[in-house]
């Protein structure tokens, strides 16, 4: 079930009403959340529900098994075993096809028949997200940061529909207490929820769909057929498309959870205002970034074992972070670029520190320069992320050099305005959002509903017929 559909609107209206009716009865409320989350997931394919149930069961069994052991080292070993068990379905669904095909072509190259059957395994929606949440749950139990929850709470935690298919990756310590306790019926932050939901819808339905259809998809689909200017604007456009698409989804997810009385962590914080790649990862997909830090980078040794080892750890983390997005060399290249960028940035910072120079840009001009450079490095990474193959990525980059003599019919004023507007919103402080939100919150509920209807009407009218699935669903 996609968020920007009438199916979801009807589904949520029912769940919202039932949730608050059942709020005084915790067990019934949890069952409602669980069943409604499975219905939400089954809307794509009911057969996928068994996978979600299986992953939830492995996580709970793993957590209980880990908890039984008192010695920390043994707990950690058990957590690793449970995490590997949780990773098995992800590896199978996400990487088997890529692995089997690569092996088949390698074996055929030396005259041998393929060693593994070529099966096309369909990637279940959201598996990467709920697998990571399940791992964090087991590891947090092993670290004594949380205690194992009840079976029902764990299943609700992993399946809760607002975060189920594309995050944010919420940790057990954040969500499990909220599942346990009845939600405060006096504190629904409807103003913030409405702004998040409508803002997310605007970003996805209007901005992302428009730029994707107008310039990004045509150029990345056939880079050779487009000019250098179109290619450059399409690269900038994709930076906006993936931000508006993914952050739009997350905004809606956070808003929907708020209406049910749940608080999710923030996932984006003006990522294109970053002054370095390190800063970018403080602002982009924050919940994945902290997951990689806490469950991969730090267990590898983090930054405490010398410069070289730190650089290796950063590279491993970013490469695996890239592979998390999909089985393909383009994602490895994307992760590798970010890894190299962060290692170089770290050496530069250390060097400046030794010379007594400021670590962050000191003047407004320096900040602007750092933002522009960082944004272009991020865009270079996005080319590989979007291209589909390494060859196609270089085709796109090649057009930036060779295609300047050709007409650029796709670069329209509206396309440029959409990209510039979204970049400005991230880089100019003091947006009117909080003031408008405060004013809105003072309106009577009926007037609030009418105001929201007007905005929703405009979004629906400005959007295309039918909305493409969110980009991060496939990860």
């Amino acid at each position: 079930m996609l968020f920007p559909t009438t199916d979801f609107a009807i589904f949520f209206a029912i769940v919202f009403a039932m949730h608050w009716v059942l709020n005084p009865h915790p067990r019934a409320r949890k069952w409602l959340l669980l069943v409604s989350s499975y219905v939400f997931y089954a809307w794509w394919d009911w057969r996928l529900v068994w996978l979600l149930v299986t992953v939830s069961a492995i996580a709970q069994l793993g957590a209980l098994w880990v908890e039984r052991q008192d010695e920390q080292a043994a707990r950690s070993r058990r957590a690793i075993v449970a995490s590997l068990a949780l990773l098995l379905p992800l590896v199978w669904f996400k990487y088997y096809g890529f692995f089997a095909l690569s092996l088949a072509n390698a074996f055929e190259g030396i005259g041998l028949s393929p060693p593994l059957p070529l099966l096309q395994v369909v990637l279940p929606v959201g598996i990467s997200f709920y697998t990571f949440m399940a791992i964090s749950y087991v590891v947090d139990v092993s670290r004594l940061e949380i205690t194992p929850a009840s079976w029902l709470d764990t299943f609700v935690y992993l399946a809760f529909f607002p975060h189920l298919v594309a995050g944010p990756i919420v940790r057990g310590e954040e969500l499990l207490p909220q599942i346990r306790r009845r939600r405060d019926p006096e504190r629904i932050d409807v103003s913030r929820a409405a702004f998040l939901i409508l803002g997310g819808l605007f970003k996805k339905v209007v901005v992302s769909s428009f730029l994707a259809a107008q310039i990004v998809d045509p150029v990345f689909g056939a880079p050779g057929a487009h000019s250098a200017l179109e290619t450059l604007v399409a690269i900038y456009g994709y930076a906006i498309v993936i931000y508006t698409d993914f952050s739009g989804y997350t905004d809606i997810a956070i808003g929907v959870a708020l209406l049910l009385g749940f608080e999710f962590p923030v996932n984006f914080d003006r990522p294109y205002a970053a002054v370095s790649l390190r800063d970018f990862w403080h602002r982009w997909h924050i919940t994945l970034s902290r997951w990689l830090r806490d469950y991969l980078y730090i267990p590898l040794g983090g930054g405490k074992r010398g410069e070289v080892r730190t650089a290796i750890n950063v590279m491993i983390t970013m490469l695996l972070g890239g592979l998390w997005h999909g089985a393909g060399w383009t994602f490895v290249a994307w992760g590798g670029l970010h890894g190299i960028g962060q290692v170089v940035g770290r050496w530069r910072r250390c060097s400046r520190e030794r010379r007594g120079l400021p670590l962050e840009p000191a003047s407004a001009a320096a900040v602007l320069r750092a933002r522009v450079v960082t944004f272009h490095l991020i865009c270079l990474g996005w080319v590989f992320f979007r291209a589909g193959s390494i060859g196609r990525a270089f085709d796109v980059l090649d057009r930036l050099v060779t295609g300047w003599a050709e007409p650029s019919t796709l670069v329209t004023p509206l396309v440029v305005a959409a990209i510039a507007g979204m970049l400005l919103l991230q880089n100019v402080p003091g947006t009117p959002g909080p003031v408008v939100q405060r004013t809105f919150s003072r309106l009577a509920p009926v007037m609030q509903g009418a105001a929201l209807a007007v905005v929703l009407f405009a979004i629906t009218t400005l959007g295309p017929n039918g909305v493409a699935p969110f980009i991060y669903f496939r990860f």
Binding site: S191, A225, R293, T409
Partner: protein
């Protein structure tokens, strides 16, 4: 974990400088009842504003319980919307936002602006290509096409069908791809395969469309516009996977199981093709490829027979048997196939219908080969070797 212990390379929520911004003024919290009123008013007003559009869309949806339920809900909403004049106000607002409220449910066809060939430029004498020309205006002796418009028709005029013209950089070949979502995947592949300096590929496909439901999206009318506005040299057609439903005609509806369904569909396909070729445009009709769901095979093969027969009856059309191209040796479906160089590739998408980029390229190369064979499409138009 304290902020100072955290590695600097990766994000941290605990770092106070990087903590997510909290709204300085927290919005007024409300009760579920108040929130419910807000949501209910919002959804009710939105539904009333869109009631005429939603009702029309529901009418064009495939028959079934879902359609019946939608209509049962929307009819009273539309009546209330009409009484309160909300629908009229909404239509006015939609027009103000540049949206036609009475447009087809399947969306409006948007044809991008094309560069006009520069006919005043002298041709390069060293080039073997003919001087760039614009298409001549319709001859007054040409019989009027449907709708009273006149079009040049080499067949009607008695002239034999000629090869596709040799394009130049000043007057590139105009290639249009129409059809359903499969065509939207094929178009970028064709864009890769044609030489961009000699050909412009336009993707004008619409998702969820076909020939059976002109009330949802009228491909015949759309093609008429395309021919008039774009004057394509060649049109690639790939559709049909959404046509497993009743055919809507001006006289009524022909049910899918009815004996005259295939006859009505054949008529529709022939009229669609006539719309393109009546102005001399060449058509490459790509048949429906084999799909994973075996239950659909008989029906899709029946449609492919219609397309093949229709194309065979028109000298300006060629048919590509993509079913055979993509089936396995034993006549089955496979996601992994060997390309022309014998390399195993994942050709089909996970849904068992669509293709991967490699698959679309494979299909696109077959479609272009058909154009080369049938209409002597000049190799100069292409980026790849036949």
């Amino acid at each position: 974990m304290a902020a100072e212990e955290l590695p600097p390379e990766l994000a941290t929520l605990e770092d106070p400088d990087r903590a997510p911004r909290e709204d300085a003024d927290r919005s007024r919290a409300v009760t579920p009842k108040q929130a419910g009123v807000t949501l209910a008013v919002c959804l009710a007003l939105w539904a009333m504003a869109f009631a005429p559009t939603l009702e029309r869309t529901a009418h064009t949806a495939p028959s079934g319980a879902r359609r019946d339920a939608a209509l049962a809900i929307l009819r009273p909403v539309a009546v209330i919307s009409d009484v309160l004049a909300v629908g009229d106000a909404a239509e006015g607002a939609m027009r103000a936002l540049g949206h036609d409220p009475n447009g087809p449910s399947g969306g409006e066809l948007v044809i991008p602006e094309l560069e006009t060939p520069d006919v005043s430029v002298q041709p390069d004498p060293s080039s073997e290509a003919p001087a760039p020309t614009t298409k001549p205006p319709a001859s007054p002796t040409t019989p009027p096409a449907e709708g009273g418009r006149r079009r040049p028709n080499p067949l009607v005029d008695g002239a034999p069908p000629s090869d596709i013209r040799i394009p130049t950089e000043r007057d590139r070949l105009r290639v249009v791809v129409v059809g359903d979502s499969l065509s939207q995947g094929l178009a970028p592949a064709l864009g890769e395969l044609f030489d961009p300096s000699n050909a412009r590929v336009l993707s004008l496909g619409r998702i969820s469309t076909g020939l059976a439901r002109p009330d949802y999206f009228n491909w015949q009318a759309a093609l008429r516009r395309i021919v008039d506005e774009v004057r394509p040299d060649v049109v690639f057609v790939l559709l049909g996977t959404n046509d497993d439903q009743p055919i809507v005609t001006s006289e009524g509806t022909v049910d899918l199981g009815a004996t005259d369904w295939t006859y009505a569909y054949r008529e529709r396909a022939a009229a669609f093709l006539r719309e393109a070729t009546s102005a001399g445009t060449r058509v490459v009709w790509v048949g429906i490829p084999v799909v994973a769901e075996r239950e659909r095979w008989d029906f899709y093969r029946r449609l492919n027979d219609v397309y093949a027969d229709t194309a065979a009856a028109d000298p300006l059309a060629a048919y590509v048997d993509s079913w055979r191209l993509l089936e396995t040796r034993d006549g089955g479906y496979a996601a992994y196939l060997r390309n022309e160089r014998g390399v195993l590739q994942e050709m089909r998408a996970g849904d068992g219908f669509h293709f991967t980029p490699n698959g679309y390229l494979y299909l696109g190369r077959a479609a272009i080969r058909a154009a080369v064979e049938a209409f002597s499409l000049a190799p100069a138009s292409l980026e790849f070797r036949i």
